[in-house]
């Protein structure tokens, strides 16, 4: 076991990635995630790795494509506008089945937006973002310790499924400091990747990394293969945390840093005798539908609290499927919901005023 270190979120991600065996990072500056590429630029040369500052987010994600295709554990990071630029590359990476980890420290949008925390890239992350039928695993940590643990898992999951995995944080998680502990042994040997383009001297036959299928039947077969893989991911990889749901009249859905604010509000509500529970999706895709379906049997109402105009609430509604009312409370633009305002919303819903 390591010791506890007080680290900034963005730097903690970098260290966790290095300990997970990542030696290649391709990035481009954008607030509020700059400490991550800066950390990698400083640290990677110390461990025999390399950080390349690309000419754009587009170039960075395509460097990731090349490096992942060559068999490396590789990462890129950005924040919302930059992640939009990466969508083309992500679609290609998903189609060519290349493992990699992408970090999005979400900021307020749309457009250039702002630099304060937001969660308004939920749809982009979970519903495609780029063109075509593809899925990414999307992991949403709520604390820096969880972020560190999830970065390690993200690399393993990426390799397991040969699929991109996104860490969806926000400006707050990137900038804040909390104690973290790097619990696991450092990864020194990467899993063998017999499909990677490392030169024919390193593997039998010839390897090609590609997403072009000009024959419709072959492209459909490729899509069916991908969909089978996504179904497996959906069946095996759902993660969520559930607190006080069993007796809750109101079940609140919230992820990431918003879930912490909701938790503070929930504890205040419990002290006042209000039966409020929390389901915190840790995987945003696959979404923990079953947890909500189960809760719909006992809860009287649901509420989704987000730093957006209402995105995850659609998945909550799909899961609850009309059985119970689903309400929404959100702030946008980098405004952060306060525990007091969230508590007020609880009271309105439970008092029948919502």
């Amino acid at each position: 076991m390591g010791e506890k270190i007080l680290m900034k979120g963005n730097e903690a991600i970098g260290e966790a990635a290095i300990r997970a065996g990542c030696r290649h990072f391709f990035g481009y500056p954008i607030t509020p995630q700059n400490e991550l590429p800066e950390y990698m630029a400083r640290r990677l040369p110390e461990v025999g790795g390399v950080m390349v500052q690309a000419e754009s987010e587009i170039a960075a994600i395509n460097m990731v494509y090349g490096a992942a295709g060559a068999g490396a554990r590789v990462m890129t990071s950005s924040s919302s506008p930059g992640i939009s630029l990466k969508q083309e590359g992500l679609s290609y990476i998903a189609a060519a089945e290349l493992p990699c980890v992408i970090v999005n420290m979400v900021r307020g949008g749309p457009g250039l937006g702002g630099i304060q925390p937001a969660q308004s890239d939920y749809w982009q992350a979970t519903k495609g973002g780029g063109h075509g039928d593809y899925r990414m695993l999307v992991l949403a940590p709520a604390s820096l310790q969880e972020m560190v643990d999830l970065v390690r898992d993200a690399f393993a999951l990426a390799d397991k499924y040969r699929n991109p995995v996104m860490i969806l944080g926000d400006g707050m998680l990137g900038q804040m400091m909390e104690p973290v502990m790097f619990k696991d042994e450092e990864v020194r040997e990467l899993p063998a990747k017999e499909w990677a383009t490392t030169g024919t001297r390193n593997h039998p036959g010839r390897n090609v990394i590609n997403s072009l299928y000009l024959q419709p039947d072959r492209l459909e077969a490729h899509n069916e293969h991908l969909q089978r893989k996504y179904a497996q991911m959906a069946a095996n990889e759902v993660r969520y945390e559930s607190v006080n749901v069993e007796d809750a009249d109101l079940v609140v859905a919230a992820f990431g840093s918003t879930a912490r604010i909701v938790r503070s509000a929930m504890e205040a509500a419990r002290q006042e005798g209000l039966r409020v529970g929390l389901i915190r999706p840790i995987t945003l895709w696959p979404f923990p539908e079953e947890a909500f379906q189960q809760a719909a049997k006992t809860a009287k109402a649901f509420l989704s609290v987000e730093m957006s105009a209402g995105q995850m609430v659609e998945d909550v509604r799909l899961a609850v499927n009309g059985q119970k009312p689903v309400y929404f409370y959100g702030r946008t633009g980098g405004m952060i919901p306060t525990p007091e305002a969230v508590l007020e919303k609880f009271k309105k819903i439970l008092g029948g005023e919502a």
Binding site: H24, I58, M63, G66, G69, G89, Y92, R201, V208
Partner: protein
């Protein structure tokens, strides 16, 4: 009897999809010969573009990656940084390299990435059906410059070799043509040199090859070759634009 002419080992034994009279076939062969002669096939990784050469990953016997439009130099960068001992090349057309991928080629060159770029310039988008390219000559009629490229409307064609030669990063930049056997031989030397430079760790090397598109130029193959001499070369002069070895000799 000794065999004096054979398919290079690096060139796959398949029928290509290229149009009759197109010079991609010649250029593919020159790349394959260079790989054979340097004996690097088993450590070479090629990156195919989007455009006419999109299926190049089927035509070379090395490992290949297919890149998004214009991004081949970034993909090459990713591969080379992971596998510094591999020989990494991109094979790109003018739409791919000089238009949508202008940023990627400039910055890969500026970083002096130790890669080899084969840039095939025929002044038109072939795969998509004959649209104007960033390298389409003034006055040339294409489906998106139906009245002929007019500088006042569509601007001027880009000279990539000259542009990149202003940078410190590249080791070697040459423009060649394949419209006569003599030019093919010179192109062969340039392409081999561009790969040898990478083997020797000299840095970024690019060979711009003037090419034809009989189909979309609306010409016979012979007329098309003649047009390279008459119209292309006057605007895109052949020659070495940068060579760090020659610079060394001068001093």
């Amino acid at each position: 009897m000794a065999k004096v002419f054979a398919r290079p080992k690096a060139l796959a034994d398949v029928v290509t999809h290229y149009c009759p009279g197109c010079t991609h076939g010649i250029i593919h062969r020159l790349v394959a010969e260079a790989i054979d002669e340097l004996d690097i096939l088993d450590r070479t990784i090629g990156v195919a573009p989007v455009g006419c050469a999109v299926l190049a990953y089927d035509y070379f016997e090395c490992d290949m990656q297919e890149a998004a439009h214009g991004r081949a130099p970034a993909v090459c960068t990713g591969i080379k940084r992971v596998l510094p001992d591999a020989i990494v090349f991109s094979y790109q057309g003018d739409g791919d390299l000089a238009s949508i991928g202008a940023a990627e080629i400039v910055h890969a060159a500026a970083r002096g990435e130790n890669i080899t770029v084969i840039f095939v310039n025929n002044g038109i988008y072939g795969m998509t059906g004959g649209q104007m390219a960033p390298t389409t000559l003034i006055g040339h009629k294409t489906t998106t410059s139906p009245y002929g490229r007019d500088a006042a409307v569509q601007g001027y064609p880009l000279r990539i070799a000259e542009m990149l030669a202003t940078l410190e990063g590249p080791a070697y930049i040459e423009r060649v043509s394949v419209h006569t056997p003599q030019h093919v031989n010179r192109a062969k030397r340039a392409i081999k040199r561009a790969f040898a430079n990478q083997v020797e760790g000299k840095g970024f090397s690019i060979v711009e090859v003037l090419s034809t598109c009989p189909t979309n130029w609306g010409m016979t193959p012979v007329e098309a070759l003649q047009r390279v001499a008459d119209e292309m070369i006057p605007y895109y002069p052949l020659g070495v634009f940068k060579d760090i070895d020659a610079e060394g000799e001068d001093k």
